[in-house]
Symmetry: C2
Subunit: 209 residues, 2 copies
DNA sequence: ATCAAATTGTTGCAATTGCAACATGAAGTC
DNA sequence: GACTTCATGTTGCAATTGCAACAATTTGAT
């Protein structure tokens, strides 16, 4: 279930979406999501599909700011989407639900019984985004490509509780996420392989330590 | 005024702090703040002083995760303070106010008239933290020390609306924040100076472009 | 099944950076 | 005011990385 609705009964969920005039969009692969959303300020979530928030700077360098899979929540205030360098892209066909944030914030709704829970959930989601960003910073802070890779593996491995990692990113994207040159990363992965730290089969990586 | 209390009347602010049994602490310079706070889950703010949230990893490398000046809000959910690598340190004598977050979340308070505004404010603060972290990531993502410095200057300069920057960090701390070697950064600052991009007088930097 | 596009692997080389070591200067303490 | 601690500047050198260019492989579309 979507984390926006934790501890909210199904009937209230529907009512809430109805009251707030939520819109659903189905978007084909490689679509710029923000072009479809007219709200200046919104909260949305992914019903199915996979999208990414990507930053491209003046050098043409890109970074993956967030990955958005099923049930991921995103939005203006949750992802700094007022930043003009950011773009939300569907990497496969995706369906999303969009709620107007300014409307959420209007007084009249605040008396609704389930509304407080909705706010709590939003706060909890924001808190998780902060934690994710701290993880990203922790990785970027490492001085060598090797340390960045190992930190990345460590965080995923701790999150999933297994030493077998299925990358959700391509290696090209991973290099962007770590902010390193792809070929240099490829070289370092080879070193890690040859030194017996990891085993790789396509995007499945096994940690041997 | 503290952003936690935006749009909340003074008398309600006091009542809120009283109801939630907020505690005040005055801490000398170089104190580990988390040692003083017993709450497992809290929201706090800085009344006066200056503190930093610092991460130290197994290599002994440190990064500045957040700077907390007057009126800065921090807390378990806002700063991932359950992360054991994080430490909050007073860099000068500081006074802080601490509220128990679990208590905030209890049902009974949610009827209070100003409480909804309090939640809104919390969400707004969380949103700003996310934006700050995105800025940090944007900086760390740059490939060269020069680009990191220029990006850092750009962000501060846009925020303050002036080309004269007064660093709140020492150069040693700035190097940590940018995740680069201090001496290499010093060398790059010299280059920027000699090429006429910047002028420096101690921690006052003037952008000449 | 076939072709085009995207991803991945590889390598040489130049540029950037980290590290170490030391000198100087500033700030804080007693 | 003397002294210690911390911050800053500087430099040589080795290690790491980015870049470019190309081959090989995989994926996707028709």
């Amino acid at each position: 279930m979507n984390p926006l609705f934790t501890n909210i009964e199904k009937k209230y969920q529907d009512k809430l979406l109805y009251t707030l005039e939520a819109h659903t969009f189905t978007l084909p692969k490689n679509t710029r999501v923000l072009n479809t959303i007219k709200n200046e300020n919104f909260i949305g979530y992914v019903i199915y599909g996979y999208m990414q928030i990507i930053q491209t700077d003046y050098n043409g360098n890109t970074t993956i700011i967030e990955e958005l899979g099923e049930n991921a929540v995103f939005g203006t205030i949750l992802s700094s989407l007022n930043n003009t360098e950011y773009e939300v892209i569907t990497k496969e066909e995706s369906q999303i639900k969009i709620i107007d944030y300014n409307q959420i914030m209007e007084e009249e709704y605040h008396k609704l019984p389930y509304f407080h829970q909705f706010f709590k959930n939003l706060l909890e989601i924001a808190s998780q985004k902060i934690a994710e960003k701290n993880d990203h910073i922790e990785i970027l802070t490492k001085k060598t490509i090797r340390d960045k890779l190992l930190e990345y593996f460590k965080i995923i491995s701790e999150k999933t509780g297994t030493k077998i990692i299925y990358l959700t990113l391509t290696y090209t994207e991973l290099a962007d996420y770590l902010a390193v040159d792809r070929s240099a990363m490829s070289r370092e992965l080879k070193n890690l392989r040859e030194e017996g730290f990891i085993k790789t089969e396509n995007r499945r990586i096994t940690l041997l330590y």
